[in-house]
């Protein structure tokens, strides 16, 4: 029997508040992860974990530690629901290409897919890749009363929600850009953590010591990868590269030039030689070998810094929220979400998989494992989540603090990759001596027709 038939609208409009109330009551029973008890506790609800017993779903994941956790939880999911899962992890770039080609074919081979919302948000919506999840969330027959939709953080939810309110993915992971700093170096030179973006320059100048092979600052210089560094500075001016409300390009104005000049100054005057070709991994290596005092990047790269086998700065790493800019204080954010293929014949089972994997228990497991920042807020409030043998308190404080001031680090448009490429080259050129204003003007002129065309048809 096709599960499609079971997805009829219930006619009951369940609000977030009512879901929350129900969820709180059920959570109090402490039954997550105990299938038999869960079914008993929900005996009065219309929800049944065994509803799609016997079905099998295909899941396409991105290769990363979070997907390892998802795959490890598959056995538990199958025992609870009777739904078998066939999943595969594919490296990020190839996974995006596979998603693009398979969704464009109209017959994707997977029921559930992980999407990079900072790249594929608009693309997935305009291309009608994934199903609107709101009818599932609002249907008490389809959603576990303990699901607690209100638990999702604002940053992740805003990423997963399209302009017209459609939510075609559920956020799973949110990455915040922040400032790693070497506490020992700061103490030795008597430098305090920067209170503003301008302070970063001053601190970098004091900490920069090429004679000892120590750079004051390091961040990505490689084209494409370098965009979030620039957008992080631009957010300090209260601007995103493309205004989400009007679609106006904010890429060659005074604020964008200021951000590009800050990018150039830090990456040219106080960074190690060769930064122009650095991606996150070269920056990470430099920082964890004690060759840089500060590193601006995503908090998702923190785990190796605290690994004694590969890092020389274990226990010396400070995790700081990106300092405020002249006009605003934001952290650039990126997010992954999970969606159900519109062409899937097993949407019910697929939704069960998503709500289980993005449930509180597994989001908490993600935080505990140091696999990144979960999209839900409850793990941060759980002492279990912030009790870590690897990370100090400031790591968790940085995550929750950044979450409160998060704004997208990339424009929410279809041609994100072209944007990153064109402006990435422009920024890289500034490191070779080109004028930031001229480069940004040229890049804006080159990108505008691409953007205009993407919004047509």
């Amino acid at each position: 029997m096709s599960s499609e038939k079971t997805l009829r609208p219930s006619g009951i409009d369940v609000t977030r508040r009512s879901l929350l109330k129900t969820g709180v009551g059920a959570t109090a029973l402490g039954v997550i992860g105990a299938p038999a008890l869960v079914r008993t506790a929900n005996a009065q609800s219309k929800f049944d974990w065994k509803r799609f017993n016997g079905e099998q779903i295909d899941v396409m994941l991105v290769k990363n530690p979070r997907s390892d956790l998802l795959q490890a939880a598959e056995k538990e999911f199958t025992e609870l629901t009777g739904i078998k899962v066939s999943s595969e992890q594919i490296p990020e770039q190839q996974q995006r290409q596979k998603a693009m080609i398979e969704y464009s074919s109209g017959r994707p081979t997977f029921d559930v897919t992980m999407l990079a919302l900072h790249v594929q948000k608009r693309l997935s919506y305009k291309g009608k890749w994934t199903e609107d999840l709101r009818p599932f969330i609002n249907n008490p027959e389809m959603t576990n009363p303990e699901f607690d939709f209100a638990d999702f953080g604002k940053a992740g939810l805003s990423f997963a929600t399209q302009a017209d309110g459609v939510m075609n993915t559920l956020p799973h992971f949110v990455d915040f850009w922040m400032l790693y700093y070497n506490k020992e170096m700061f103490q030795q030179k008597g430098v305090e953590y920067p209170k503003s973006m301008d302070d970063i320059v001053a601190a970098a100048a004091k900490l920069n010591d090429p004679s000892k092979g120590v750079a004051g600052f390091v961040s990505r210089g490689l084209k494409n990868a370098n965009i979030p560094v620039w957008t992080s500075w631009l957010l300090g001016q209260g601007l995103e590269t493309i205004d989400p409300a009007t679609g106006k390009l904010n890429t060659d104005g005074a604020e964008a030039i200021w951000a590009a000049e800050l990018y150039r100054k830090l990456n040219k005057d106080y960074a190690p030689p060769g930064t122009i070709g650095f991606n996150w991994n070269e920056c990470q290596t430099t920082f964890m070998q004690g060759r840089a005092a500060m590193w601006l990047d995503g908090i998702g790269f923190a785990t190796p810094l605290e690994d004694p086998k590969s890092s020389k700065i274990v226990g010396k790493v400070g995790y700081g929220i990106t300092p405020p800019g002249p006009k605003a204080h934001h952290s650039a954010i990126f997010a992954d979400g999970m969606g159900i293929s519109q062409a899937s014949k097993k949407k019910g089972a697929a939704w069960y998989y998503i709500q289980f994997m993005v449930g509180k228990k597994h989001q908490l497991a993600m935080l505990k494992a140091g696999a990144g920042s979960p999209a839900r807020m409850s793990p941060f409030n759980d002492p279990e989540g912030t009790k870590s043998s690897i990370f100090a308190k400031d790591y968790f404080d940085c995550m929750s603090g950044s979450g409160k001031i998060g704004r997208p680090g990339l424009p929410q448009i279809i041609p994100v990759t072209e944007f990153r490429d064109i402006f990435g080259v422009a920024l890289t050129n500034t490191l070779s001596g080109a004028d930031p204003a001229a480069e940004l003007k040229k890049a804006t002129e080159a990108f505008k027709p691409v953007l205009d065309k993407s919004e047509q048809g």
């Binding site: 291309g127 490689l222 084209k223 070269e282 430099t286 041609p415 990759t417 072209e418 070779s432 048809g457």
Partner: protein, 310 residues
């Protein structure tokens, strides 16, 4: 029997004849041999090629519709500064990645052709880079190029030489990538030329010794001319290889810094698999194919001129 069939078909002159002088035989009994090969060639070579030409005339982005635009993609390409720049970079990279391995490979072949202790072991070691997987060796090279932590700058420092930025500078990225390519493929040239050297006749050398020629004279006026056809083979293989190299550049520099090492292949990859502009990328393929065919024909013509068949 063949003649009988040919007579039945009419005058053979109009049908032409095989190099052996016998007339071609188009009778159906031979179709069973020709048709499978023809179908396979049409399916895997002719059709994809014609389809690529067809796509190059369309504004086609994956996920969107197809719009016929004629030659617009080609006009846009030639007006695209980045495309022209990638042509220039491809040319520089190809020239360096062909000439240097061929020169070094020739020298290595001459060295390993002579007798000396441990020649076999050393020759095996010399060809080892060629056996390595390009992506794997590229990752290793990339680590070695790290400006602060790479072993190469450490080695330079032992000799009092200042550190290099290697692939992390627009000025040095192409020479550095060429260095990897030379390391990887010089052994192939050496193997080709060693085969050529092994087949050279001894008589011209004996005559030259009697005439009082020295080593340089024998190399310049005997070895090089006789070896030239083999060098041409090496040049053709290296040119095609250098033109289509992608893995080494993509893994080590991703076409950067900026666009400093963005060859035609990297440009093509970006258009097709990052921006999903299939029509535009197909136009690049058509141009690229034309360049490779033209160069191959030129080199084959030169090889013929070297009297390979004489």
């Amino acid at each position: 029997m063949t003649q009988t069939t040919a007579s039945a078909l009419g005058p053979t002159a109009a049908r032409g004849s095989a190099p052996s002088g016998k007339p071609y035989d188009f009778s159906r009994k031979y179709w069973v041999f020709a048709v499978p090969a023809t179908v396979i060639i049409l399916a895997v070579i002719v059709f994809p090629w014609l389809f690529t030409v067809f796509m190059s005339a369309g504004d086609w982005k994956i996920g969107g519709g197809v719009e016929f635009v004629g030659l617009d993609n080609f006009r846009t390409l030639f007006a695209d500064e980045r495309f022209r720049d990638s042509m220039r970079i491809t040319f520089i990279f190809t020239v360096l990645a062909v000439v240097i391995p061929v020169a070094l490979g020739t020298a290595a072949a001459l060295v390993f052709h002579s007798e000396f202790p441990f020649r076999g072991v050393l020759r095996t070691i010399f060809v080892m880079p060629m056996m390595a997987t390009p992506v794997a060796v590229s990752l290793v090279w990339k680590m070695m190029f790290h400006p602060q932590l790479g072993v190469l700058n450490y080695i330079l420092s032992l000799f009092g030489i200042p550190p290099s930025a290697w692939v992390f500078s627009p000025e040095t990225v192409i020479p550095t990538l060429v260095m990897v390519e030379v390391w990887h493929w010089t052994p192939l040239v050496m193997l080709i030329l060693l085969g050529g050297l092994a087949g050279l006749p001894k008589e011209p050398y004996e005559s030259a010794v009697i005439d009082g020629a020295n080593g340089w004279h024998m190399f310049r006026f005997i070895t090089l001319p006789l070896l030239w056809p083999y060098i041409m083979i090496a040049l053709i293989i290296r040119t095609i290889d250098a033109l289509k190299v992608f893995d080494i550049i993509f893994v080590i520099s991703e076409g950067g810094p900026g666009t400093a090492s963005e060859t035609l292949n990297i440009f093509l990859y970006l258009q097709a698999f990052q921006f999903y502009k299939i029509g535009y990328a197909s136009a690049v393929v058509v141009i690229f194919f034309g360049i490779i065919v033209a160069l191959s024909l030129l080199l084959l013509y030169t090889r013929q001129k070297s009297k390979w068949n004489a």
